[in-house]
């Protein structure tokens, strides 16, 4: 019991508590209908979606202010954006914050999705929650696509034109729906107005409806159970107000502070206005979150007639992501029991990262089929092999050797660090293998030049560093028992007897 309750005095120590209680007494927030959450959910990884919503709110606020000045016509879109930049007080800062929080929203949504995938939140009875979440992700990408065109710069207009050209190659039903929705008559003025309406009215409305549906389902099912052993103390339920609310506000404040600092340090520069001449001289490239699609359609097999195949395949990937819970129907949720899905998920992330990085580095460059097969296939193979190997090492061995029961704090900490190192090494490994293969292919196709050789050497050195890191990771797999010497001793006497140390 707090001191103040024992003594009846209110000390300065309870300043914030008193403040929260003041609001609670008047608003009855702690008696809200929201389902209490377990203590273990007080962890940033459980609130990635909430942070994405925070980014959405910041975008809403900054977007509404910009709407006061922006004019959605081809003749005035750029000049009104320029006016916001140069004349409106804090205009450039506002634009920068709007853009960076949009990037953060996309990144957080992706992290939220992948975390959900790896910890199996999509399992029964949360299948529809997952599907709604995926739709929210697509709407978020829609925000990016529609918002990119609005400043009417040469970069944004050219990239959007490429995107609109791709619409025609989509499966016919989707193509005709999208043409009706975003292209209209095909004139610039119609397209820009439609993009603007979608960006500021339709997409926010759809996102809010989907968010409400997801929140309703979250209230129905609650936060998914932890997949690791959690103590009874951590399972204790806590009210949404004030405990969880205060925690989310804390995260949101830190997120906002981070966004402000990033926006200040890296202010946005407005690219030149779109003109057909400038567009003809520039290479269209989408924003980073669409680079992976851009890189796929640059593979020579997917040029012209093959484009339909590539876009159909990408559509199938999206559909598979939505219906994933109906494919992965097993009730097993622990990482140790989901080797295949963990491997597939890791390959998916590695390929997305590799394609994005590759697309960034090779604007406008057609990728030969051999090079694509080597790089993408090499990454898939390397990541699959690495994941399966480490999964086996981490889980099989741990499961069979460690005593049953809750892991100690040091063991949990070691597992967390090991997992992070594992993710980092898999990512770096995929990148260095892919780039080494890419550099080798460049030498085969373009001949031996000094720059090609230097690139190959650098990537092989990078690969060497990753291999060294992998070996170091193996030494770190002592799972919190301390030094390497102790680990060697453990190997000698066996895991079961580790208490003897």
């Amino acid at each position: 019991m707090p001191d103040s309750e024992q003594t009846g005095r209110k000390g300065p120590r309870y300043t914030v508590t008193s403040l929260v209680q003041w609001f609670d007494t008047r608003l009855g927030l702690s008696h809200s209908l929201f389902r209490p959450i377990p203590q273990y959910a007080i962890n940033p990884f459980y609130w990635l979606g909430a942070l994405a919503v925070t980014a959405f709110v910041i975008q809403g606020v900054t977007g509404v202010i910009m709407m006061l000045y922006y004019v959605p016509t081809p003749t005035q879109a750029y000049s009104s954006t320029q006016y916001i930049f140069n004349t409106v007080p804090y205009g450039r800062f506002l634009e920068t914050v709007h853009l960076y929080t949009a990037y953060a929203m996309i990144m957080l949504s992706f992290m939220h999705m992948m975390r959900g995938y790896f910890v199996s939140v999509q399992k029964k009875p949360r299948e529809l929650m997952w599907a709604v979440g995926m739709l929210m992700g697509f709407v978020t990408l829609g925000f990016g696509f529609t918002g990119y065109l609005l400043p009417w710069t040469v970069v944004s207009k050219s990239a959007t034109d490429v995107g609109l050209g791709m619409v025609k190659a989509l499966p016919s039903g989707i193509a005709s729906f999208l043409t009706f929705l975003i292209v209209g008559t095909g004139e610039d003025s119609t397209t820009l107005l439609r993009f603007y309406d979608l960006h500021v009215i339709l997409l926010p409305a759809v996102l809010l409806v989907l968010l409400a549906a997801k929140m309703y389902m979250l209230e129905t099912h609650g936060i998914s159970d932890a997949i690791t052993n959690v103590s009874e103390k951590k399972r204790r339920l806590i009210p949404v107000f004030p405990d969880a609310t205060v925690y989310v506000l804390e995260l949101a404040a830190l997120f906002g502070a981070g966004m402000l600092i990033i926006s200040l340090v890296f202010p946005l520069a407005l690219p030149p206005q779109f003109t057909p001449e400038l567009a003809a001289a520039s290479t269209p490239q989408p924003d980073w979150y669409f680079l992976w699609i851009y890189q796929i359609i640059k593979i020579s097999a997917f040029e012209t007639a093959g484009l339909k195949v590539a876009l159909s395949a990408i559509t199938v990937i999206f559909i598979l992501l939505i219906i994933l819970p109906f494919i992965d129907r097993s009730n097993k949720r622990e990482l140790a029991d989901r080797r295949v899905y963990i491997t597939l998920g890791t390959i998916f992330v590695a390929e997305l990262l590799a394609l994005t990085y590759w697309g960034l580095k090779t604007p406008g460059q057609i990728i030969s089929n051999e090079q694509a097969a080597l790089v993408l296939g090499g990454i898939a193979l390397a990541v699959a092999g690495g994941t399966l190997f480490l999964h086996n090492l981490l889980f099989r061995r741990v499961k069979s050797k460690l005593p049953i029961g809750n892991p100690s704090a040091s063991l949990r900490s070691a597992q967390a660090w090991t997992s992070m190192a594992f993710v980092l090494i898999v990512g770096l490994g995929a990148m260095t293998i892919g780039e080494s293969l890419n550099a080798s292919v460049q030498i085969v196709l373009g001949g031996v030049t000094l720059s090609n050789l230097v690139m190959l050497l650098l990537w092989i050195l990078g690969l060497g560093a990753v291999v060294f890191g992998s070996i170091f990771l193996l030494y770190r797999l002592d799972l919190g028992t301390g030094s390497i010497r102790k680990r060697v001793r453990l190997l000698e006497i066996g895991w079961e007897n580790d208490e003897a140390l």
Binding site: P12, R13, V16, P89, F93, A253, L264
Partner: protein, 86 residues
């Protein structure tokens, strides 16, 4: 523990002052744009620190000194930056 309540009071005073200053900040110059962003950052970090102390207090646990020192250092450096950029 009283030290932590003093921290909360100081953070509240800091937030109130910064908010007051932000309200009366001139919107006309580009310099004030930097000041605005930096002081708003101070405000947000101070709020986050306050909620952190509150959460720990509610659990009857001591707030981590590392986080408090780190938070204070960030606030101080951002605050100083706002003076330099003004």
């Amino acid at each position: 523990m009283k030290l932590y309540s003093l921290i909360v009071i100081l953070l509240l005073i800091l937030q109130a002052d910064v908010t007051g200053f932000l309200i009366f900040l001139s919107f006309e110059s580009t310099v004030s744009e930097n000041t605005f962003a930096l002081l708003l950052t101070v405000d947000l970090i101070a709020f986050a620190m306050m909620t952190y102390v509150y959460r720990r207090e509610k659990l009857h646990a001591l707030p981590s000194r590392v986080w408090l020192i780190l938070g204070s250092a960030v606030i101080a450096s951002v605050f100083l930056s706002s003076l330099i950029f003004t």
